[in-house]
Symmetry: C2
DNA sequence: GTCTATATGCGGATAGAC
DNA sequence: GTCTATCCGCATATAGAC
């Protein structure tokens, strides 16, 4: 069946790319794991890069939509009191982990997500970023309210830190599990992550010494 | 000159791998950029993988030594009062940025570092982690003191979050600069990062509801 | 839609002259 | 130590039979 082939390719690609990374995963690997013919990838997707785009779109779009949906919900509920920092952060961080728990702790997807954030080349980052842009902007606006002491010169950076701790955790969480005795579930980790991010975002602003001098060096 | 060739290869490899990633960077790319012969990489380093190891070692060892040195210093100074959270976090986060500023804001190295943390395959992670292990352990012990409310089940995770925000920032910081009006220097970013990490590490522990129920959803 | 066979090029590595 | 020439395998992609 045709659509079955497409799905099997997407699943296998997601798995393998999450495992080994995009450049190190060959179409031979993918088609073998999916138990389909080598040529079918090009037939169904056009190219290896287009396959990657399809793999990402299948997961990222629902996640970003879910983020916006959750944000809408809490903002509606909160009325003009404004949503709490905790709720906003949770709305941002939980969707990737939600998808996760639906599958019974298949960590591959989290690692793929982690890789997406950091592995791709510069052009691809632009594409990814442009899709992410809307989400980023809306959460920036939402966060501004419970964090009035932050400005345009530090709120975006702190959001970047939050995304970084999330992405890194998705990518390394599995290795981490093995090192610790750790019976932590992804849900436990998510809760820790939310606590960490809330506190980090709300941290007092470091006293600006307004650039005493470019810390320079000869050579 | 021989040693000059080695250095040129290391420099070019660092640059290109930071740019495009390890698997996507060919030895032909490297030797062309370094203006040396293709065969010289194998002559001097043995293999492409060994070259990567050399590239990393050249930078990581000084950074990790510097981290431990700074930790020693602040612990000596602080006596039995114990070092402050801020000083410990700073000792951990600043060395990569220090190396950086010595070179006059060549972001390549920071991006390479970011990639190391996220791009490599599982075997390589093990190697990297084993070198990092000592540093991680010593800082975990040091952090335990100003953070007595944390335990073995959450301190390591929070340290992972800290490393994640750092790695991600190193990897994406450059793109970030471009997006914002941002006249932020790496030093500004470092200060923001330290503030974020301190607060995140010190965050109150989320009330353990001992797994009320998997946050569920129907599809 | 699926498959085989193949085109075409790039990858890491090395033999051997200088 | 450096270079050329080359081995050899794997990569993506596609032509064309079924």
């Amino acid at each position: 069946m045709a659509s079955d082939t497409k799905r099997r390719i997407l699943d296998a690609a997601e798995q393998l790319i999450g495992d080994k990374g995009f450049p190190s995963t060959s179409m031979r690997d993918i088609t073998k794991a999916a138990n389909v013919n080598l040529a079918s990838v090009n037939y169904h997707f056009g190219s290896k890069e287009a396959l990657l785009a399809a793999v990402l779109a299948r997961r990222l779009q629902p996640i970003n939509e879910r983020r916006l949906q959750l944000l809408d919900e809490i903002e509606t509920q909160a009325d003009d009191r404004g949503a709490t920092l905790y709720d906003i952060v949770r709305a941002f961080l939980s969707p990737p982990f939600e998808q996760q728990t639906q599958w019974g702790y298949n960590e591959t997807f989290l690692r793929l997500l982690g890789r997406i954030h950091s592995e791709t080349n510069e052009e691809f980052r632009q594409v990814f970023m442009s899709e992410f842009e809307l989400v980023f902007q809306r959460f920036a606006v939402a966060l501004q309210r419970p964090l009035p002491h932050l400005t345009n010169s530090n709120l975006p950076w702190r959001m970047l830190f939050m995304v970084g701790s999330m992405a890194f955790t998705m990518s390394w969480g599995q290795s981490m599990m093995l090192r610790e005795d750790s019976s932590a579930t992804p849900d436990d980790v998510l809760n820790e992550l939310i606590a960490f991010a809330c506190a980090g975002l709300a941290a007092p602003v470091h006293q600006e010494i307004s650039h005493p001098q470019q810390l320079q060096e000869t050579q």
